[in-house]
Each structure stands twice: as C-alpha cells, then as structure tokens.
Symmetry: C2
Subunit: 317 residues, 2 copies
C-alpha cells in the first residue's frame, strides 16, 4: 500500500477516506515540523505539506519515493513546484473547496473596511466610546461604487457575483482577458493594472502568488490609488509591500484596507496593529470547520484520484 | 412663504433646495432640543423632527400651523403618528434613500458576525493576540446556509438579493405573504415566525417598529433559535429585549449577533460590550455622507412635493 505523510492536523474523520486504500500518518499535535518531515520523508510516496515550512529541493531529494505532493490550499507558494516538475513529482491543489469561503471572506472584509464596522466595533467598547451624531465618523458606501479585481479567476468571479448583487460595477486585471461570456455575466471591464489602481473605489487582490507577484502592490501602486480607495487582500501577504501599505494607511493616502494575509505570518507589522482604518484577520478566509473538512476531502480526493482514478484531480504540475 | 423648522443639522448645501420656495431654519449645532422646538413650533408650518426627542401631542398642539411632519428616516417611531392623523397633520418618511445603505450594512453585520471578523480584528490587536492554527477559533460559513428575514419589505428584499448571490437560501415572515413574482425572484419561502426562528441559520430583523413589535424578539423567541444561530438587527432597538439577547449570547445559547440599534441609544448594555460573539455599531446603517445627503434630499423633496406637487411624496399618514 502506498504511504501518505500528512503534516497538518487533518480531521481524522476525513482522513478515514484513505482507510483500506493507503497507509497514512497524521500528527498528534498541530503539525509536523520541517526537521521531522526531513527525517520521515524517505518512506513516503505522498506528501501533504503545510504552510509552516517550504517544501523545497532538500525535502524532495530526501523523498526518494515521492510521487505526489497533495497541497492543502489553492495557493502553492509553499512548494518549489519548478523543482517538483523537474523531478517528475506531481503537485495538486484544492481550488473548489476554498472558492466560496474565500470570496465570502473577501467581501466581508470589503464591507467591513468601507462601512467602518471593525472600527465601530472596537471603539464602541472603549471607555471614551463613539460619537453617535448623524454625521459623526461616517463610512464609505459600497452600492454604486466600482470594484477592481486583480486576478479574475474563480475566486475573483465569485467575489464579483456578490459585488454585482450589492450594486457595484466591476473592472478587472488578469494575465489574460476573459471570455466575453464571463465578462458579460458580471458586466466586467478588462483594464490595465494602472487603470484599475487609478479608477477603482475598492480594490481586491485575488491573484496567485508567484515569484513575479512579490510586492506587486508597493509604493508606486499605492500612489496611483484614490484617496478614498479601500484595498482588500485575501491572496498572499508577500504580494503586498506591507510597510508601504502601512505608511499609506497611516498617512491617509488611501482610505482603508482589509487584510487577511501578511508578509510574515503570523506576525503582523506592529504599526499596522495601531491603525484604525484597517480590518485585520488571521488568515481566516477559509477558517470554518465546514470549509476545513471540505478542503481536507478535496485534498484526499486528489490522492485517491491520482492513484485510483476515482476522482478528478487538480494538477498544478 | 411657508416656514420649515429643521431640527437636525442637515447639510446646508442640501437645504438650499428650499431656497426661494420655503423659509427655513437650521440648527447651528448638532440639533434643536425638545424645549427649543416647543418654544419655536407655533410659527412653523412644517416640522423636520429628529430622533433625540419624541414628537408627541404637546409638540403638535403647540404647533398650531403644523401641516406637515417630514421625517428624516424610514422608521417613524419618533412621532405619534396616530395623533398626527387625528389632527390632520401629514407625516412623510424617506424609504428610498435608506434602502440600499441599510441592506448593505445588515449584510456587512451578518458576514462579520458569522465569520467572526469583529472578534478577529479586536483580538489580533491585543497583547495576547490570536491563535493562527488551521482549526483555531473558526467562524461559521454563510454560503449554503439559510437566512430568515423578519419583515420582507424593500430593505428585506435588498438584503435577500445580496444573500442569494452569496449562496444563501431565504425564508421570510411578514404581515402579508408577498406576490409569487417577488418570492420567486429570491426563491423565498413564506413561513411562520416560529418556523423562521427555529430553522434559520441567520436571522435578520427588518420590520418596522411599532407598539406591536416592542420586544418581539425576547427570551421565548431566542429559546427557539438554533445554538448556531446568528441574529442581526438593523431595524430598531426596542424590538429586541436587549437583556434577554445579551443573556443568550453570554450563555452561548445562540452563536453570535450583529447589532446596529439598541434599546436605549446611545447607551449599550455594559454586559453586551464585554461579549466576544457580538459585532456592535452606533446606528450606522445609513452613516455615509452620500446616504445622509440623499436622505436629506428625499426629506426636502417630500416637503416640496407636499406643497408644490413637484415630487412624489412618501406619506405615512
């Protein structure tokens, strides 16, 4: 029987899907560390990595039997996929189960940042409290405003669906222009990144992380944004220059941000934690028990699909 | 020229719509108080009340010339409309301008309460911080869940539109069952209040406040809700027994709440301010400068429509 090294604390009920088909090991704590993985990997055919270490050449070289890396996430910036490709190791990801939870959370951040819900909820609990006058501490509307989506893949489109129903107009930037049929569905306009940054009221980052996208939002891009712009990131922290963003928020060069991901998770820039015009969450876009189980199942199905053809698999390389 | 007493600090640019057609007075501070209104009202044909005092018999009796009360809000629980009706004083409200901002804010509260955004944003800033593990402090999903809307008027329907696009199913309770065409638009099911309370994953209160709806959500109704229920109120604070709700949240009898209105605004029950499973905002559902101006304009148009027929008016009595 092929052997699977699962390095994160997958719900054992979900892991049972492998029973009788694959041998597997689960950590009994939060997850296996890099050193433990290096010690164990030589015996395993399949690795399920986690996001606390980078699955690099060394791990893959020690994993002499490795045939499959089944990632627990849609993003795979935790894996050296180029090297996996060279070695003929298949890498899979889980685009389906993360789709709606992530778009849902991005929209929650957008609404909370624009309408100042995080700020209200924090300040109302302080001894000084909030001012309740009709014109005190107003937020920004969402209805009638434009949303610029950077990375109009499936998550971006699921976000657009919510935004359109909420009265927003959509522009997007993508490596490739989408089919007219998809554009028409959201009445979405394809624009350059610069146009998107200059014209959007709300901007959401939904592109995949790669070497090319590191700090794709930095000082230059922030300078292009409106002073009333609201920036949302549920993609990956390394795509944004966190220091430049913090500066722009502090100086009110842009109006607000909603951030679920950070450059050095779980660390957040201390200056960012001090700001009133940002809503912060701990990489929680898929943090529901239901989503975790569905993600686990999709990850398991990639393994079973790879070996037995019983499920379609989502292959990265 | 007819005379208008505007008791709240309307944007003077918006008030200019009255120039040359009506005489009017605006407060130079946050708003006129009840005693000031009582002193002045005898001279005025139109009163624009505010929510810091109740426009009662005494005010209407002193207002010998009063023909119109043009309210700055869709709810009119700040006015004794029965007595206005007896005296032949017309009362108008502003259902159009508050529609989308309120539905938008209700949905923002729903997402934030379910996905624990308020909690994350508060706790991440504390010295102890948050746990970032995959299964730590999960929220509840919205996609695939049911929303029960109590009061399926225009705001309830604008909320339903957002919810449907976010993958929710809709049930509603209303004084009257809606036309089949409207039900079909949201695939909304008409149910009894009890069924709604027992079966909904999320519950949003969007009914008008009246004598009959005081404490319509109390211990009995909270006892009917699921232990995973999330309750949202953007209607009026007096419709909910705040003490009973606070108890239910504290005892985790229901899962969370999102509250924009309170029984004794601007006071919030101190025990409520201590709870992690509630998102709180200062009656901010229409708190954007854009919404305030549109509301002001709709209120002014009710006055101009009443006297000159130049606009349709929204008449309460």
């Amino acid at each position: 029987m092929k052997k699977v090294l699962i390095t994160y604390k997958l719900n054992p009920e979900i892991a049972k899907e492998l029973d009788g088909k694959m041998e597997y090991v689960l950590p009994d704590k939060s997850g296996f560390k890099r050193e433990e993985v290096l010690d164990m990997i030589a015996d395993y055919d399949v690795l399920v990595p986690n996001f606390s270490f980078y699955t690099d050449k060394e791990i893959m070289d020690k994993g002499e039997k490795l045939e499959l890396i089944s990632n627990f996430g849609v993003g795979y910036n935790n894996i050296d996929v180029e090297y996996a490709k060279q070695k003929g190791i298949t890498v899979t990801n889980i685009p389906n189960s993360v789709l709606e939870p992530t778009a849902e959370f991005a929209f929650a951040l957008l609404l909370a940042a624009g309408r100042r819900l995080g700020y209200y909820d924090r300040k109302i609990r302080t001894p000084e409290g909030l001012k309740w006058g009709l014109y005190d501490e107003p937020g920004l509307p969402i209805f009638g405003k434009s949303l610029g989506i950077i990375g109009m893949g499936r998550i971006g489109q699921a976000l657009a669906r919510r935004a359109v129903a909420s009265g927003m107009t959509i522009m997007y930037h993508n490596r490739n222009k989408l089919d007219k049929a998809i554009e028409n569905k959201y009445n979405a306009q394809y624009v350059s990144l610069e146009t998107l940054l200059r014209q959007s009221d709300y901007i959401s980052l939904n592109a995949p992380s790669s070497k090319e996208t590191i700090h794709m939002i930095g000082k230059k891009e922030l300078d292009m944004m409106k002073s009333t712009a609201v920036f949302i990131n549920t993609a990956r922290g390394n795509m944004v220059d966190e220091k430049a963003l913090t500066h722009a928020l502090k100086e009110k060069q842009i109006w607000a941000a909603g951030l679920d991901v950070f450059e050095n998770e779980p660390k957040v820039l201390p200056e960012l934690l001090e700001l009133d015009n940002v809503v912060l969450s701990p990489h929680a876009a898929t943090k529901t028990l239901e989503a975790r189980d569905e993600m686990g199942l999709e990850m398991i199905h990639n393994i079973l699909g790879f070996y037995f053809g019983t499920y379609p698999i989502s292959k990265v390389v």
